[in-house]
């Protein structure tokens, strides 16, 4: 077993931090490490926190950490902030709200830049979750970037998704739009000491009651994170949703779905790599590109011919990948 994996499984925080860097940087060693980690994953419960910029996601995470620590749980936090599309740099500032927990060794907080990913999470969030899961965290809180209406990758990643709103965020039509309003398992109206709280709460409740199907009905929880108000209700709702997910079998289903997606992604990744490796070796791609640019060929038939020439599918049959 790789030394880094051994250290991580023994609870070494530096090893966990190094490992997340390896997956984030797409280092060559990444796949080997993840392979060895995989048997130790699948135990943590994943909670996603999403909402508009400045709605109070980081502060809520901070408050929740306290509640969860009171119950003796070990927690990992992944906080995502946007990477600049121009410079590639980023300001990762979610930690500012959580620094009171910096010295609690049962909490591990990691900030990540999106690095080109557009769905509200970073490219390597899922892999970083696996690292913290194997590291022995009971709960992993995933804070998305400040989102607009349609960055909904979190719902495919988390077991429970919390959508954080603030009072007076538009008229009631906003509550029935597709996208972020559909993915909540729990709604939080944060900054609930501001005017408009009751109206926003009512509008969301009305929207929720328009749904016909049975199953989980998302609660709407009012919080004031700077005064630590309502956090206990949020924590109760999170626990209730987890019980619902487990007892209804939904958790098992979405986790199977997630594994299926991981497998598909890996097959696509390996296939793509092996095709392109051969293409680079055997075919003068530049010449083909020029022919297409001169309109002597079209890209659709050129691609088919290329794959025919490689016989990739016959060769793959006997290989291990």
């Amino acid at each position: 077993m790789h030394q880094l994996v051994t250290d991580l499984l023994n609870g070494n925080r530096r090893a966990a931090a190094r490992m997340i860097s390896h997956v984030e940087n797409d280092d060559l060693i990444k796949r080997e490490l993840l392979k060895e980690l995989y048997p130790h994953t699948g135990k943590a419960y994943l909670i996603g926190i999403t909402g508009a910029p400045g709605s109070g996601k980081s502060s809520l995470v901070d408050c929740l950490l306290q509640e969860m620590r009171n119950d003796g749980l070990k927690i990992g936090v992944i906080a995502v902030d946007p990477t600049s599309p121009f410079s590639g740099g980023a300001i990762l500032g979610d930690r500012i709200r959580m620094q009171d927990h910096a010295l609690d060794h049962n909490i591990f907080i990691r900030s990540m830049g999106t690095r080109g990913s557009l769905g509200g999470l970073s490219r390597s969030t899922r892999e970083a979750i696996q690292v913290l899961d194997a590291f022995g965290k009971d709960i992993i809180l995933i804070e998305t970037v400040g989102v607009g209406q349609s960055e909904v990758d979190i719902v495919k990643t988390a077991d429970t998704t919390v959508v954080v709103l603030t009072p007076a965020g538009g008229d009631s039509v906003q509550t029935i739009k597709a996208g972020i309003m559909e993915i909540a398992d729990i709604f939080v109206i944060n900054k609930a000491d501001l005017p408009g709280t009751e109206r926003t709460t009512t509008e969301i409740n009305v929207m929720l009651d328009m749904k016909k199907e049975g199953g989980w009905r998302p609660p709407v929880v009012q919080t004031v994170s700077v005064q630590n108000k309502g956090i206990n209700y949020l924590w109760e709702s999170l626990q209730e949703h987890r019980i619902y997910m487990q007892e209804s079998g939904t958790l098992e289903n979405i986790r199977l779905e997630r594994v299926k997606r991981e497998l598909t992604d890996q097959v696509e990744f390996l296939l793509k790599n092996s095709v392109w490796n051969q293409v680079k070796e055997e075919i003068k791609l530049d010449r083909l590109v020029e022919e297409i640019a001169r309109r002597e060929k079209d890209p659709y038939s050129a691609a088919s011919e290329l794959l025919d020439k490689l016989n990739i599918f016959e060769q793959k049959a006997g290989e291990d990948g």
């Binding site: 410079s87 590639g88 740099g89 990762l92 930690r95 500012i96 620094q99 591990f108 690095r115």
Partner: protein, 131 residues
Amino acid sequence: MNRRKIRVLVAKPGLDGHDRGARVIARALRDAGFEVIYTGLHQTPEQVAETALQEDVDVVGLSILSGAHMTLVPRIKKLLIDNGMGEVLMVVGGIIPGDDAEKLLKEGHAEQIFTPGDSLDRIIGYISSKF
């Protein structure tokens, strides 16, 4: 392939409430393509070192305007070394008298010290040159 992203922790240790300078530096580093982790004000040396560890940073940048640099900088450097992070590039900015700066550098508590008047280009050029 892109060049590996360099991660920089910008931290304000101690009882010093002025973070405009730290924010300007953080912003300039962002525009130069660095990933900047900012911790906010009033961090203890232990918080700074633990954050550096969890975030696995390549550079720690301390902004100190309080006059406590001769205590804070060596303390943080020692905690980093204890954490197995002695290799991290330690850069200090603030109002650091020349004699103090010389001592901190000579004793290996920091790799570079910037004071008022140093340009953003110089600071970024220095950090970039190390990677």
